[in-house]
């Protein structure tokens, strides 16, 4: 065992944190948050900095970074205080859209998409959830039927991160309705936004992560070429699902780990500065205990997160470990951001200190990528053997 980062890794994390603080944080504004506006300048900066394609091999425009280093960079952005909308869009692009193409795509698919996903030129999205089915894949209604050299897709998807701006979408659709289990009858496609019959629905207003645009997506006799199929027919969902269980639940949660650190730092600084009853808040034990709990939440989440990242790098199974990580970290992040508000008192409840934004943003963690309830069910079935 070795629980340390190398000096290079620490320097890398510090550099990404500085990049986030200097090049991304200033692009956020209350107006953008209020208006659900995507931060184009941040996206360009991330593309130029090279953070949008970290894990892919260099020949596809990536940096060949390990899962640990990919998480380290994502954590660094959270530590810098980058808004979670920006890191969510990054995760949907780089991990949800890019990783399945990298791991399951043909040479042509990888050459076509990955360099542009990495550069930020072609924003990526991932379409799994439907109005009538989320974690319950058996309820999936979107259908793809082979017609000569094309696939014809019909159905709709919802809550699609990057939907309004994405160039290409990873789309799951039923190709063998009688398959048992149902997940072995679902295939995955790469659908370009200019495909005939593809339509982006309305932009959805939401509680947090508001700079990350979310929309509905409609497929009305949407035609894509045969080579848009990603991975083997009927097995696409099973394989993508496996990737997503590990990579998504880890890399997309890494900014939340950084967010816990950022919230803790913000609260500590405020407690040193703010005085009540003649002494700094830092002297009050009731508030000290909140800081201690934040630190314990950080250290616990740290171990659970980097364990999964390390196992991903070793090609070991991570399903249970990733579910454990996501359950703990997502709930810890909400608790921490709530305590940060409490420490800030009235200022915390007002918008000017941004801590209320962190709280709104953190709530996505227990819902997206499989709710906490889905994670608990998964953990229990795996260890209980029922």
């Amino acid at each position: 065992m070795d629980f340390s980062f190398t000096d290079e890794q620490v320097a890398f994390r510090d550099a990404v944190e500085r990049f986030g603080r200097e090049s991304l944080v200033p692009n956020w504004s209350q107006e953008a948050d209020d208006g659900n506006i995507f931060l184009t300048d941040s996206w360009k900066a991330m593309g130029e900095y090279g953070i949008l394609g970290l894990p892919y091999p260099e020949e596809y425009g990536g940096s060949g970074a390990s899962a640990v280093d990919t998480c380290l960079a994502s954590e660094a952005l959270g530590r810098a205080g980058v808004d979670a909308g920006t890191t969510l869009s990054m995760g949907a692009n780089t991990i949800l859209c890019g990783v399945p193409i990298w791991k399951l795509g043909t040479e042509e698919q990888k050459r076509k998409y990955l360099p542009k996903i990495a550069s930020g030129e072609w924003i990526g999205a991932f379409c799994l959830t439907e109005p009538g089915s989320g974690s319950d894949a058996a309820g999936m209604a979107t259908r793809a039927v082979r017609d000569g050299n094309e696939w014809v897709i019909n159905g709709s998807k919802t809550w699609i991160t990057n939907g309004p701006y994405a160039h290409q979408f990873i789309v799951t659709a039923v190709t063998e309705p009688d398959a048992n289990p149902r997940s072995f009858g679902i295939s995955t496609f790469i659908v370009d936004a200019d495909a005939p019959g593809f339509r982006v629905g309305r932009k959805l207003d939401k509680l947090g992560c508001r700079t990350s645009p979310t929309s509905e997506i409609f497929f009305d006799d949407c035609r894509v070429p045969a080579d848009a199929l990603l991975g083997p027919e009927n097995m696409g969902f099973a394989l993508v699902g496996k990737l997503i269980l590990g990579w998504e639940r880890t890399c997309l949660m890494a900014p939340a780990l950084g967010g816990v650190w950022h919230g803790m730092a913000t609260a500590c600084r405020y407690m040193h500065q703010r005085k009540q009853f003649g002494r700094p808040l830092a002297k009050f034990q009731a508030l000290q205990e909140k800081i201690a709990d934040m630190r314990v939440a950080y250290e616990t989440s740290w171990g659970l997160l980097y364990r999964v990242a390390d196992l991903l790098d070793r090609d070991e199974p991570v399903m249970v470990e990733a579910a454990i990580l996501k359950t703990y970290l997502s709930e810890a992040a909400i608790r921490v951001s709530e305590d940060v508000i409490q420490i800030h008192g009235g200022y915390g409840f007002s918008k000017e200190y941004l801590v209320e934004r962190h709280w709104r943003d953190s709530k996505l963690g227990t819902i997206g990528a499989g709710t906490s309830e889905i994670q608990r069910g998964l953990i229990a079935r795996a260890i209980g053997g029922f």
């Binding site: 065992m1 500590c268 201690a292 630190r295 616990t300 470990e321 454990i324 703990y328 069910g377």
Partner: protein, 383 residues
């Protein structure tokens, strides 16, 4: 970065786990009921080499890496919290300061017997009126021509009335605060030393706890441990081991609670199906596993960093705090899953629930740990 166990650690883990299942788990119920020092388990642990883990080879010990040591502690706590506690007080809280601070002569007199399971040790810091506030200690050691004379009382001492040797902290310079504390070795047969009867307690009943009294207790000069005035520093160093140990204590108990809960919930039927099929039951099981993994990684990390000499105080404290509170939460859920049976002494979870409650109190309460973590964290962001 590497979160995996190597082959030797894995092999040790399964072999030691089997030993615990065969030799320690079956005695747990009687150990708790009899409320006497778990002699048979202690001797079995000596035969397995547990009492000599991390001790010098020349005294019969086995140098091991900190992860292996952590695994052994975690497994023993899973098997029997009382046995863990008594063995830990003996070879850890007592054995560690002897190994680190005692003279060569005293080490060769004590360590071989301790490692072989023939001697039992104890560590006496807490007093009736002071626990975490060690500077308020009133036990006094005065220098004489022949050595030292001890006067005062200690409280809640694990193995207090069954130990052959005890490390005792006492004030040698009452004006000097922390720097006025020294520590001493005291043999149980020394005139003026008296151990009280076992205190009745909620859990860990197989591990005897007692008060100690020192009435003009005269000891030779060579029983001073390390240099005069370094007793508090020694205690802090000893507690680093103790906090890793308490992290293992919590994690192991929680693991036992999880295993009992899964077993019971799969057997017990209600409304026509095993109760594990009901979400409110199996979500509790998932919650237990989440806490256990968090606790175990923290404990292993603190142990590993301790070995590297890089572990901050806040991480020792975080590991101890999280794991011991996790054990309280997990054993509570385990009792709940067992329903009426969980409330009965006949089922193991009733004992686990009582045993776990020591964790957030012993070796620095949760409140003390949080204070320490907060101070270190606040200082990181003082600029």
């Amino acid at each position: 970065m590497d979160f995996t166990l190597n082959d030797e650690q894995q092999a040790f883990s399964s072999a030691f786990g089997r030993f615990i299942d065969e030799e320690i788990v079956p005695r747990g119920e009687a150990v708790d009921r009899n409320k006497v020092f778990p002699r048979q388990g202690y001797e079995a642990l000596a035969r397995m080499g547990y009492l000599g883990l991390g001790m010098p080879e020349k005294y019969g010990g086995t140098p091991v890496d900190p992860i292996t040591h952590y695994i052994a502690q975690d497994e023993l706590a899973r098997g029997c919290a009382s046995t863990f506690l008594s063995a830990g007080a003996s070879c850890g809280l007592f054995g560690v300061p002897v190994r680190l601070f005692a003279s060569e002569e005293m080490q060769s007199e004590i360590l071989p017997g301790l490692i072989a399971g023939e001697l039992v040790g104890a560590w006496a810091l807490t007093e009736p009126h002071c626990g975490s506030d060690a500077a308020a200690m009133t036990t006094r050691a005065r220098k004489t021509d022949k050595g030292w004379v001890l006067n005062g009382a200690k409280m809640f001492i694990t193995n207090g009335n069954c130990a052959d040797w005890i490390v005792v902290a006492a004030k040698t310079d009452p004006e000097a605060g922390y720097g006025g504390v020294s520590s001493f070795l005291v043999h149980k047969d020394t005139p003026g030393f008296h151990a009280g009867t076992s205190l009745e307690k909620m859990g860990c009943r197989g591990s005897p706890t007692s008060a100690l009294h020192f009435d003009d207790c005269e000891i030779p000069g060579e029983w001073l441990l390390g240099a005069e005035g370094t007793g508090f520093l020694q205690a802090m160093q000893t507690l680093e081991y103790g906090r890793v140990g308490m992290a293992a204590f919590g994690t192991g108990i929680a693991q036992a609670a999880l295993e009992e809960s899964i077993k019971y919930a799969k057997e017990r039927k209600a409304f026509g199906k095993p109760i594990i099929k009901f979400q409110p039951v199996h979500f509790k099981i998932a919650d237990m596993r989440v806490l256990i993994d968090g606790a175990r990684i923290l404990g292993m990390r603190a142990s590993w960093m301790h070995g590297q000499g890089t572990c901050p105080q806040s991480l020792f404290s975080a590991a101890k705090l999280f794991a011991t509170e996790a054990a309280v939460t997990c054993t509570d859920k385990a009792v709940q899953i067992h329903g009426g049976y969980g409330y009965m002494a006949e089922y193991r979870v009733e004992r686990l629930y009582r045993d776990a409650r020591l964790g957030p109190i012993g070796e620095g309460s949760s409140e003390i740990q949080r204070r320490l973590i907060a101070q270190e964290t606040l200082a990181m962001f003082a600029g």
